[in-house]
């Protein structure tokens, strides 16, 4: 068990080190999410409610995550580096978990900027929204990482990931928007937690099959 | 026909349109398969003779 987690840690550390060294993904996600919020300001006509802006926040989060997920396996894809990891004796699901953790880390960094920016540009953010974002992040990264691994196997990989991901992201958006606008966010948060649990388990269990050539 | 009947007829037409379309696609596929089998038979015959 501890061996499993030390593999996950090793792999996630590697992703972090790569990101710190090359700085490709996180700055792009930051810039994208802030740009998206500015665009949304102009997309919402005067008199639109704060609730509409909250909906836009979720659109921004999903697409920012998509940006990060699209980059998730770039290092491994170039020069077939995934082979190197698949040859290693570690459990293959550890590769998925490590990648999920690193993408989650990048997304959280982007949101640490995006949420205050949203509060300044539009309206304040309450605890329920933050809880919703945290729970949604887990689901987005768990499912998204698996789908990103699927997409890199295909020819049109940049094109494929959004198509695979968005239908699966609809329930996340429902849970997230519900948590930030409804009077009783509890049931929406519960729904997000359910989504996370269900999809994290099947993503974890199926990653091995996805990378088998 | 009343509007009501039109909608019902449209719904049924859609369903059967789909089934018929499917049938057409299958017929096209069948003719392709037939052609391929013909080619292969020709090939096999040539082999036997040559």
């Amino acid at each position: 068990m501890s061996a499993y987690f030390s593999d996950v840690l090793t792999l996630a550390q590697k992703d972090l080190r790569l990101e710190l060294r090359v700085r490709n993904t996180v700055p792009a996600m930051l810039l994208f999410v802030v740009s998206a919020l500015v665009v949304f300001h102009f997309a919402l006509p005067a008199g639109s409610s704060d609730l509409a802006a909250k909906g836009m926040l979720w659109v921004a989060i999903v697409f920012t995550a998509l940006l990060g997920l699209g980059r998730a396996f770039v290092a491994e894809r170039e020069q077939r580096l995934l082979d190197g990891l698949l040859l290693a004796p570690c459990d293959r699901s550890a590769i998925w978990l490590a990648k999920t953790v690193s993408v989650l880390g990048f997304l959280v960094v982007a949101e640490l900027v995006a949420l205050p920016a949203f509060a300044i540009f539009f309206s304040g953010i309450d605890g329920a929204t933050i809880a919703g974002v945290a729970l949604a992040d887990l689901g987005i990264c768990a499912v998204g990482t698996l789908l990103a691994a699927m997409a890199v196997a295909g020819r049109a990989r940049e094109l494929l990931l959004p198509l695979l991901f968005l239908p699966l992201a609809i329930p996340i958006v429902v849970g997230g928007v519900g948590a930030s606008v409804a009077d009783d966010p509890g049931r929406y948060l519960g729904f997000l937690a359910l989504y996370d649990a269900v999809f994290a388990i099947i993503s974890w269990a199926s990653f091995e099959y996805v990378v088998t050539e | 026909m009343t509007t009501e009947e039109k909608y019902v007829a449209a719904a049924y037409l859609v369903v059967f349109g789909f089934v018929l379309l499917y049938l057409v696609i299958m017929a096209l596929k069948l003719s392709r398969l037939e052609r391929e089998v013909g080619e292969l038979t020709e090939l096999a015959r040539k082999r036997r003779d040559g």
């Binding site: 061996a3 030390s6 593999d7 090793t10 792999l11 590697k14 080190r17 790569l18 060294r21 090359v22 290092a75 170039e78 020069q79 077939r80 580096l81 082979d83 190197g84 990891l85 698949l86 040859l87 290693a88 004796p89 570690c90 088998t212 050539e213 | -």
Partner: protein, 194 residues
């Protein structure tokens, strides 16, 4: 060690390896030759467990942590240094006394002085040496080497000659090469793809 019966692998409609029977005993050395695109690489990837067969059966009597694979790609992260790359693999393979072993290999393959330089500054030959370090790092009992002499200069090649001769008694080998004369004297079995 390796036993294949009717082994086949196709990519799409293309059958790259077909109906292959193979027996390599423990301690054997299988030399695989053949022109480009004849299926050498596919066979090696099958043996290393990177591909699953689409026909027949293949038994490789070892575990993943005892296989060393050297492919066309060096399988190192370009943005990490030589030392960081080997450290990553050393951790994943749980190599005992990791630092000492890595240091010893880097020394032996003449990469010690560039150990803290990023792999993307390396030449093809240096990458091949680094890749050899990676392959040998965990002391594998089955070595699957695809064109191991590729891109190596004369010095590197004789280094590898010496290394192979040293490892020969203790390990099983599957080696694909364009230059069979170089390892001919080591081989116990031969397989030529047409």
């Amino acid at each position: 060690m390796i036993r294949a019966r009717g082994l086949g692998r196709s990519f799409g409609a293309k059958r790259v390896v077909r109906d292959l029977d193979l027996d390599v005993p423990r301690g054997g050395f299988l030399l695989v030759t053949g022109p480009n695109g004849s299926g050498k690489t596919t066979l090696l990837r099958l043996v290393a467990g990177l591909l699953v067969p689409t026909a027949g059966e293949l038994e490789v009597d070892t575990t993943r942590e005892r296989v060393g694979f050297l492919g066309h790609e060096p399988l190192v992260y370009r943005e990490l240094t030589a030392l960081e790359n080997l450290d990553l693999y050393g951790r994943l393979y749980r190599v005992p006394e990791r630092r000492e072993r890595i240091g010893m290999l880097l020394e032996r393959f003449g990469l010690w002085d560039v150990r803290n330089e990023r792999a993307d500054s390396f030449s093809r030959g240096m990458l091949q040496r680094l890749s050899l370090c990676r392959t040998l790092l965990h002391d594998p009992e089955l070595l699957v080497l695809d064109e191991p002499f590729n891109a190596l200069d004369e010095e590197g090649s004789s280094l590898l000659d010496r290394e192979l001769a040293e490892l020969r008694p203790g390990a099983t080998f599957v080696v694909a090469t364009h230059d069979p004369d170089r390892v001919e004297h080591l081989a116990s079995d031969r397989l030529a793809f047409a």
